[in-house]
């Protein structure tokens, strides 16, 4: 069943392409490899270009708690200072889950609380009417790019497992930093 669904996706995607990207001498160019096609998607911002190093935390040259590639993604994608600030808070809070001691309940809860405050900030600063950048989409994308390697995903899984059976309230008011 999924094959039928994805066949439809391909048809839609190709219809939307409209032959873009080709130059007048395209017949003389060798076709792009699959890797080059995906690289194109990254370079044009269709999909994120991310750090995939072995480090859980990844590069953070300015030591602000946000992975450098995610900071670049945020700066390029979101329009206003308010949105970028909220997205950075969220990215930083997700980074926190990668360094938490999952055997320390108070530490796990504190990390969870920071993520909740950051999500709440996103939910108040981003426009619900936006198709591309509404709060649910922004928060889901930031979560996905924060845990973009096997090690990062598995650490995040340990963090979530440590929260099994937990109870928490959704923050009220302004929780933006």
């Amino acid at each position: 069943m999924n094959k039928i669904i994805f066949a439809g996706i391909i048809a839609v995607a190709f219809t939307g392409c409209g032959g873009g990207g080709g130059g007048g001498d395209s017949q003389n160019q060798s076709p792009l490899t699959d890797a080059e096609k995906i690289s194109d998607l990254e370079n044009t911002g269709v999909i994120p270009k991310l750090d995939r190093s072995a480090s859980l935390i990844g590069p953070d040259v300015n030591v602000n708690g946000i992975r450098d590639d995610i900071e670049e993604y945020i700066d390029a994608k979101y329009a206003s200072d308010e949105e970028r600030s909220a997205a950075r808070q969220s990215a930083k809070s997700f980074q926190g889950a990668l360094s938490v001691d999952t055997t320390n309940n108070a530490e796990v809860k504190a990390a969870s609380n920071k993520i909740a405050n950051a999500l709440n900030c996103i939910f108040t600063k981003f426009n619900w009417e936006s198709a591309d950048n509404n709060p649910l989409r922004v928060s889901a994308e930031l979560e996905a790019i924060s845990f973009n390697t096997k090690d990062r995903l598995n650490k995040y899984e340990q963090y979530n497992k440590a929260l099994d059976g937990s109870s928490s309230s959704i923050p009220d008011g302004d929780t933006c930093e």
């Binding site: 069943m1 999924n2 669904i5 994805f6 066949a7 439809g8 996706i9 391909i10 839609v12 995607a13 939307g16 699959d34 995906i38 269709v46 999909i47 994120p48 995939r52 997700f94 108070a106 809860k109 504190a110 609380n113 909740a116 405050n117 999500l119 709440n120 619900w128 009417e129 198709a131 509404n134 709060p135 649910l136 989409r137 928060s139 889901a140 994308e141 979560e143 996905a144 845990f147 973009n148 390697t149 096997k150 990062r152 995903l153 598995n154 899984e157 963090y159 979530n160 099994d164 059976g165 937990s166 109870s167 928490s168 309230s169 959704i170 923050p171 009220d172 008011g173 302004d174 930093e177």
Partner: protein, 450 residues
């Protein structure tokens, strides 16, 4: 309802929410109160393979659509009772192996993993559009996820969870009932198995009038309230083939004709809470929202036995005997059974015969709410040797902060022998009061930005 009307309705909801938020903000500025009046807790029980952040996002989405105040003007609070699904590591490993197929085109692109859990999304579609050979890889991954979800749910239906395994949930329910809070439970997918256990427990402690349940994509044949189930929910249909699940309530468009949920994901599996059931462009949205609103308007408050507060501490134990809760406030005031009134808080429940509860609350009034560390301790006053005491600290702003158990030794009368928690109250950079558990920290955390 057509798309235009739904969008108009969405806009009206937004205006309503913004208006309420503005009026609440104005009220807050006039009050010297660190808390907000709340009559009802709307509690979300998440579905299969949902991260805790994802569960909170879902609760925030409910808050957006339902609002922070009920139609009758009463305050609503949104909470999450999180249940984790084991087996995600196996799916990550499946992803790792499958991503090596077809020229390793998806190798190391784990940012697609969480999207795959939601049945695919914009990045997935872009890659498949550019590199069709990725199709079979992603198709296989999503098939594995669907099979895992059906397997998890089948296992849970066969061996339903009990609330005994989820003590923090149970104690939070105790707290909320004792504070006279109305309870509305909203459960999605595997959360329905947990909510049924929570419902049974709640009714055993109060009455069916005090709790309402809204089931969404119920994985369980047992229902304790109204439910919504989409006809193209592949996960529940997979479960249907193996056993009994309720009848479908809504027909949703096939994948290619379906509009994405607000998170940009369509969910090929037809099962997601945000992608399908709280998708404003599908009929399931109206049904789920109306069920929640109906539950909020019909649930009745239990009689309050204790007060809520900026933070509260509840002590229970597993038998007869007299266990005492002691709180030393930041200025040194010692609050216990002999001195129930502190500078900030009050011991408003004192049990001397068995089981508890004992309960302390710190006032929301900022004129008496002290900043600093509150030491929470216990004493086996008499005849509770060997009993297991359970202490839960909850904060107005965060819900349950932490839960701990202590096995009691010999009695020490009014001398507390067990330091259970150090709870710190301070102001953050925005001058709002915050609270946190600093029991395992070295000193104050207040100087650290929250």
């Amino acid at each position: 309802m057509n798309k235009y009307n739904r969008v108009t309705k969405l806009f009206k909801r937004l205006l309503f929410t913004v208006g309420l938020a503005a009026s609440c903000s104005a009220i807050a500025q006039e009050q010297a109160n660190a808390c907000r009046d709340v009559s009802t807790s709307v509690i979300f029980y998440n579905g299969v393979f949902t991260t805790e952040a994802g569960a909170k996002s879902a609760a925030m989405a409910m808050r957006h659509f339902i609002g922070g105040v009920s139609k009758s003007g009463e305050g609503l609070r949104y909470e999450v009772m999180y249940n984790h699904t084991n087996g995600l590591e196996d799916l990550v490993e499946t992803f790792a192996q499958r991503s090596l197929e077809h020229g390793e085109v998806l190798q190391d692109r784990y940012e697609l993993f969480l999207e795959s859990i939601s049945g695919g999304g914009a990045w997935t579609e872009a890659i498949v559009g550019a590199v069709p050979s990725a199709l079979s890889v992603l198709d296989g991954i999503i098939d594995s996820i669907r099979a895992a979800e059906v397997s998890v749910l089948t296992s849970l239906v066969g061996d339903p969870p009990t609330l005994a395994n989820y003590e923090e949930h149970q104690l939070r329910i105790d707290d909320l009932l004792q504070e006279g809070r109305k309870l509305v439970y909203v459960a999605h997918s595997q959360g329905n198995l947990f909510v049924n256990a929570a419902y049974d427990y709640t009714v055993s402690k109060s009455s069916p009038d005090n709790v309402k349940v809204v089931h969404v994509a119920p994985a369980s044949p047992t229902l304790n309230g109204e439910y919504t189930l989409a006809d193209l929910d592949v996960v529940i249909n997979g479960l249907r083939a193996l056993g009994e699940v309720p009848s479908n309530t809504d027909s949703i468009p096939i994948f290619l004709q379906r509009e994405a949920g607000l998170n940009g994901r369509k969910d090929t599996l037809g099962h997601g809470f945000i992608e399908i059931y709280l998708n404003p462009y599908l009929s399931t949205f109206d049904r789920v929202v109306s069920h929640i609103e109906s539950a909020i308007s019909t649930v009745i408050a239990p009689a309050a036995q204790v007060s809520g507060g900026f933070f509260t501490t509840t002590l229970t134990w597993d038998g007869s005997g007299d266990v005492d809760l002691h709180v030393t406030e930041p200025d040194g005031t010692h609050v216990f059974f002999a001195i129930k009134q502190g500078v900030t808080g009050y011991l408003d429940a004192d049990n001397t015969s068995g089981y508890g509860p004992e309960h302390y609350y710190a006032s929301c009034n900022v004129s008496t709410l002290q900043t600093g560390v509150y030491e929470i301790s216990l004493a086996n006053y008499y005849a509770a040797d060997g009993r297991t005491a359970t202490v839960q600290v909850s904060a107005w702003s965060q819900g349950a902060l932490s839960t701990k158990k202590v096995v009691l030794g010999a009695h020490t009368f009014s001398e507390p022998a067990y330091n259970v928690f150090n709870i710190e109250v301070c102001k953050n950079a925005a001058n709002n009061y915050v609270v946190r558990d600093v029991s395992s920290s070295d000193g104050s955390l207040c100087e650290v930005a929250p």
